[in-house]
């Protein structure tokens, strides 16, 4: 039996266990929307800007731990997705983006709303396709999902000309995809595991440096087991937060530019750095030659290009984090020379040293009684949600305060645009997260500049009755840029003052959402309580101290031990 390309697309999405599509229609995808209307298994969320569809699909993917899907029209619909796709690429998030295109006969003719989106997104997708032959449609879509979710995950774009969508195609039975040219390595080399474990056995000052790969691999349990078994302190990247419980005594929180003093000191003084699913980003390493200068480095990563790219590695392990960590745990269980007791004793002095750094410069801020401190707001959010909310962030200071003060205990609870740093990510991400986890508390910790980049999504949240909360840390500044200007440009606040802004409470109300405001510290808790008790979209406008800074801070290009402190 033959079905239309559009129907085949619906069935392909269904068979991938995807329940929600984020999208925005147009002429080139009108036939797909026709099929969508007749489909009762897939929920479509109509965003108000295509960029939001991608961020929402990205967040949806992060929360469910599988692929997110977006659907947009040709031309401007397709180009509006580019920022979202580039962000998902930088953060290795599995999404599949379907774009409509003009009929194959018109491709290359400068037709109405035609763009070469495959060409445009080539450098920011894991892979992409233009489907010209209807007979290849189903196989291509299946391949797209396979590529997006396997190996190092990432965005895949499939461009669908209108005639392909309307052609009659067969729908062959689903078989697991096998590709000749693409076979990621999941299993670690046993010899490398042996070397790594022996190095761990000997280390006096080991540090686990955990990244987004641990979350992608769903390896938080194996990681936590290893850290606790060997009594190794753990630091996480921005993308790795939640990969190890943030409130565990072994957790040192985040490292890097805005990492904790003790995490950065520990890395600098370590004799063994065990990097798991982290990519030695420049925000993490600071000046590369001063990064972990005395340490032997073990690096577990599924992508060989991540290994040895920025920092030379002593023991490379190309593998999936879960497989590698399982193999390591098994190695220690199997080897008599290892005992948990001995490991605890061996690392006691080291953990004491770290504790001393922590006592010397804990994560903190100067409290004030008459003006709201953003860190205080995040602490209150943590307290009043029991640390269990799904938190998305915008980009800038708000993002760093969220990372520092909401101590994530579980993976997939922190959604942030880390690699590309897209202002405007957080609110659509909250929408995607709420679609993925309907009963869960979802909060976008926002900045006033970023929020205005996708504020139109208030309508989306309202349309689908999503009780997402926005905690706006309103400093009337492009705060993160202002902070750099304050510190490195003699306080030349060139074009970072954005005090001309809407009244956010009224703005929320205009959309039919609830707007609340706090201007004094005493109002913070009541506002959060009211928001959490409200079954509607709520925007909490926290008017915060305008020139608050994010500390610690490693100035760009400096060693991570050269931190500016509170």
């Amino acid at each position: 039996m033959k079905i239309t390309g559009a129907q085949a697309l619906m069935q392909c999405i269904e068979e991938q266990n995807v329940k929600v599509i984020f999208g925005f229609p147009g002429g080139a995808v009108i036939d797909i929307y026709e099929a969508l209307m007749k489909n009762d298994k897939l929920t479509h969320v109509l965003v108000r800007h295509e960029q939001a569809a991608i961020h929402a699909a990205d967040a949806y993917a992060r929360v469910i731990g599988d692929v997110g899907v977006a659907l947009v029209t040709s031309g401007p619909g397709a180009t509006n997705t580019v920022t979202g796709i580039a962000s998902a690429y930088a953060d290795s998030i599995p999404i599949v983006v379907f774009t409509g295109n003009v009929p194959t006969a018109l491709i290359g003719n400068d037709a109405f709303q035609e763009v070469d989106i495959v060409g445009i997104t080539r450098p920011c997708t894991k892979h992409n396709y233009l489907v010209k032959n209807p007979d290849e449609l189903v196989a291509t879509i299946r391949e797209a999902f396979h590529i997006a979710r396997s190996g190092r995950p990432g965005p895949v774009l499939v461009d669908l000309p209108k005639d392909v969508v309307n052609a009659m195609v067969t729908f062959p039975e689903f078989k697991p995809v096998r590709m000749r040219t693409y076979r990621p390595t999941y299993e670690p080399h046993p010899g490398q595991i042996d070397k790594a474990c022996r190095a761990m056995l000997k280390a006096k000052k080991p540090v686990l440096y955990v990244g987004g790969g641990v979350i992608a691999a769903k390896a938080h349990e194996e990681l936590t087991a290893l850290a606790r078994k060997l009594h190794i302190p753990v630091t996480m990247t921005l993308m790795g937060l939640g990969g190890f419980p943030g409130t565990d005594p072994l957790s040192m929180g985040m490292l890097g530019m805005h990492g904790t003093y003790f995490a950065n000191m520990a890395v600098a003084k370590s004799d063994l750095l065990i990097a798991v699913g982290a990519r030695f980003d420049d925000r993490v390493t600071g000046r590369v030659d001063a990064f972990a200068p005395n340490a032997k480095i073990i690096h577990v990563d599924i992508d060989p290009t991540s290994i040895g790219k920025n920092v030379a590695v002593d023991i490379p392990i190309v593998a999936d984090c879960q497989h590698a960590l399982t193999a390591m745990n098994a190695w220690f269980d199997r080897h008599e020379e290892f005992s948990e007791q001995a490991a605890a004793e061996q690392h006691e002095a080291w953990l004491d040293e770290i504790r001393a750094w922590k006592n010397k410069h804990p994560l903190g801020y100067i409290e004030e009684t008459d003006i709201i401190k953003p860190q205080f707001v995040v602490q209150k959010l943590h307290e009043l949600t029991g640390g269990d909310a799904i938190i998305s962030t915008e980009v800038g200071q708000n993002q760093m305060w969220a990372a520092q003060f909401y101590h994530f205990n579980k993976p997939r609870h922190f959604l942030t645009s880390g690699g590309l740093g897209v202002m405007g990510y957080g609110f659509p991400a909250a929408i995607g997260a709420q679609m993925a986890a309907p009963g869960h508390t979802v909060i976008d910790i926002a900045g006033d500049g970023s929020l205005q980049m996708n504020i139109q999504e208030l309508a989306t949240a309202r349309q689908y009755k999503l009780p997402v909360k926005i905690a706006l840390l309103n400093n009337s500044f492009l705060g993160m840029v202002r902070q750099w200007q304050e510190l490195f440009y003699d306080k030349h606040y060139s074009h970072t003052d954005i005090h001309v802004a809407p009244d956010f409470v009224l703005l929320a109300q205009a959309y039919g959402a609830v707007g609340l405001r706090a201007t004094k510290p005493s109002e913070v808790e009541p506002v959060i309580r009211e928001a959490l008790a409200t079954d509607n979209t709520v925007l909490m406008d926290f008017v915060i101290s305008r020139e608050e800074g994010v500390y610690p801070m490693v100035p760009a290009g400096k060693a991570t031990t050269e931190m500016l402190l509170v």
């Binding site: 495959v118 060409g119 894991k126 233009l130 590529i147 040219t181 290009t305």
Partner: protein, 160 residues
């Protein structure tokens, strides 16, 4: 250091731009690039010459391998291989230099492929060094135009 890298890839539209886009996007050099079908019409072989420190070459080969359409990447520097390049040179040929040109072409086992009253076009194949030697010899006589193919390379069979 210069490296010759051989890449087997799926013969699909856009594949070449994935490779060249990778090089431009990551700031890697391409000195020359040659691509054509192999015995299997679904597979192309691309030979490229690039320049860089070992760490860069390692990234280049890993990044090439990461492209979904790439089947195999070989850094020829790690093997014994034969390489060839072809050049067509149009050289000024007047009565007093015609014989000299023919002699040079003959020595290097080239061929004259086009003749006009004032010039010869000569074709030569060989290693890049050999072609460079010919060019250097013909230059004083007056080279008007040069077209080179870029290098192709094949690993030598194992001699049992």
């Amino acid at each position: 250091m210069k490296h010759t890298i051989s890449v087997l890839l799926q013969n699909k539209p856009g594949v070449l731009s994935r490779v060249t886009g990778l090089f431009s996007g990551r700031g890697f050099n391409i000195e020359s690039l040659c691509v054509a079908q192999t015995l299997d019409p679904e597979v192309s072989c691309l030979t490229l010459v690039t320049d860089g420190e070992d760490k860069i070459i390692e990234q280049i080969t890993k990044q090439l391998h990461k492209l979904i359409d790439v089947i195999k990447v070989t850094d020829m520097g790690e093997l014994d291989y034969v390489e060839r390049e072809m050049v067509i040179i149009r050289v000024k040929a007047e009565a007093e230099t015609r014989a000299e040109i023919l002699r040079v072409v003959d020595i290097f086992r080239g061929k004259v492929v086009d003749v006009s009253p004032k010039s010869y076009a000569v074709e030569l194949t060989g290693s890049s060094t050999k072609l460079q030697a010919v060019i250097d010899i013909l230059r004083p006589i007056g080279i008007q135009e040069i077209v080179r193919t870029g290098k192709i390379a094949m690993a030598r069979a194992k001699k049992v």
